[in-house]
Assembly symmetry: C2
Homo-oligomer: 330 residues x 2
């Protein structure tokens, strides 16, 4: 790889002049400039980003930490982050934790060591202290989807409203025995959806039928098993709310396997991301603007990164709303 020095030698000027010419950072005589451009061209010169980064104290890279990507909303969020970051001149580093505290801690330790300028995370909730430390050390942290630490910026969804609205919607459709498939309430989204569900039940005088666990709940199998459990417990259940899409797929399958129809038991997903509309019987869902949320998170993160050293902005919290996409399963 050609370096600045090589270009300088070929163009018969000092490296500093080359740097200025190439970066347009101060006036350089047109003739000199031309010679420099030609030399750079000839040598196929590309500046070494590491050296720039070291010198300028900025890496122009943000780190993203997520539990998983495949078949989840996170892959879409990541695409949003990546696009926005790239448009603004930043690269995106990705780490996958499988929601394990240990893996997450490892990722965080590595990322804070000068790898990135800022961090976007959908955390396990088990490394809160590390996250606060990182933020305190000057590396901005933005929480996506899961707002576990109020002191850190976040981009989230109105999960409580989501849960509430889904019940209301189903109630208006005539459902009176509404089951909820959820995940661990130690994570904000599950907790808030649950609260919204309960608030609506109270208001309509309905009984709670819910299924939660502390295990990884983000799966088809979990949705399938929970639905079986709910229907075993109360065969009159006439609607199932699934926290995420894959659980909804499991619920639909369970209903079909039991020889029932989706007319008898309606299904709605509380965080839709595209798959709902692609099914044999398409699934109603509260659709989440995942891509835009990713872009927003990247924007917030970069804004904090680029804020002048003295005046780091206070943490900001952006909340998006889900929109009901009514389909055939309800």
């Amino acid at each position: 790889m050609a370096t600045l020095k090589d270009v300088a030698r070929l163009a018969c000027v000092d490296v500093s002049t080359v740097s200025r010419a190439l970066n347009n950072t101060s006036y350089v005589h047109p003739d000199t400039k031309e010679r420099i451009y030609a030399a750079a061209q000839e040598l196929g010169y590309h500046p070494n980003v590491m050296a720039q980064a070291l010198r300028q104290g900025k890496r122009h890279t943000i780190g993203v930490v997520m539990p998983r990507l495949h078949m989840t909303i996170f892959s879409q969020i990541l695409q949003g982050i990546e696009q926005e970051a790239r448009n603004r001149g930043y690269a995106t580093l990705i780490c996958v934790t499988e929601d394990e505290a240990k893996a997450e801690r490892e990722c965080l330790t590595r990322l804070r060591n000068g790898f990135v300028d800022g961090l976007i995370i959908a955390a396990t909730g088990k490394n809160g202290r590390v996250l606060r430390d990182i933020q305190a050390s000057g590396l901005p942290v933005v929480q996506i989807l899961r707002e576990q630490e109020r002191r850190l910026s976040s981009v989230t969804l109105e999960f409580e409203t989501c849960g509430y609205d889904a019940v209301k919607y189903l109630y208006d459709k005539g459902c009176r025995e509404i089951g909820l498939i959820n995940g661990t309430t130690s994570l904000a989204p599950y907790r808030d959806r649950y609260r919204g569900y309960q608030r609506a039940l109270a208001q309509y005088g309905l009984t709670e039928y819910s299924c939660a666990c502390t295990q990884p709940a983000n799966s088809y199998e979990y949705g399938y098993d929970c639905t079986n459990q709910l229907l075993d417990y109360n065969p009159n259940i006439d609607a199932i709310m699934a926290a995420v899409d894959v659980q909804g797929l499991g619920a639909i399958r369970s209903i079909v396997d039991r020889g029932m129809s989706l007319e008898q038991v309606k299904v709605i997903s509380l965080t839709g991301h595209a798959v709902g509309g692609m099914l044999q019987t398409s699934m109603t869902s509260m659709e989440m603007p995942a891509f835009d949320m990713g872009k927003e998170a990247a924007g917030l993160c970069i804004a904090e990164v680029e804020a002048p050293a003295g005046q780091k902005p206070a943490s900001r919290h952006v909340t998006f709303s889900a929109t009901l996409a009514e389909r055939e399963s309800t």
Copy 2:
């Protein structure tokens, strides 16, 4: 952030000694070592990776360039890459191109500028020259899934066999009018699947019914539209082969919308990745070991990165096989 110098000052030794102690790179007196560790601990010292990278000429980062992530096999491959890379001490940088040549070129230009030690790419096929340039400049490039350049290493699937085997399987099931939904044959996977399909048709004396295009074909809508087209053209089609899962979802939906059943028109996906098993009527597919392919690609890439300067290994080509997962749609 504390630097080496800070630690050195606190421990009353030279920075070089601190470096040696912390990296265990030469003998340091136990007492000194202890003082250094204590100082590093107290200051919360973390080495600056950029400086290390600049000095050592290695970034310990690999770049990944993919067309998209959401609802595709690529998100799973990426997870495989990321896990293997992390286990081996590498970070993973991700770029999404949406299969646009221009976006891809931008990504490549940035990545080659010292951002990464090696590259894994599922290319558009339109920047072959740039890729060869990059490889020639000393940055290893590994192609994943799409082997567009024979001179670059690759990790792929036996797509030809996939296409052939699917026809054979359907033929044995009694199907005689087999349609194929494919994508642009300028990409190796589509081309090879098509060849396998044709080879089998020739062998069994069947007629070709195929749908291909140069537009982005990787979608539900495309699968839906193609199926309609195929069935309009020949209502006796009794099986549809879809290149990818989302096309298969579209095919199923089209069949259902036409008031037909999956008994009449069987559906198989040629690159399954989990979703097939989660459906109301589960979809048969040739399942691809995506996660392992990702790990393999990361392994190949890192091996090339770490090969001694003089003896860069020749390009390697690893081919995986798909396994038939028989489900209800056939």
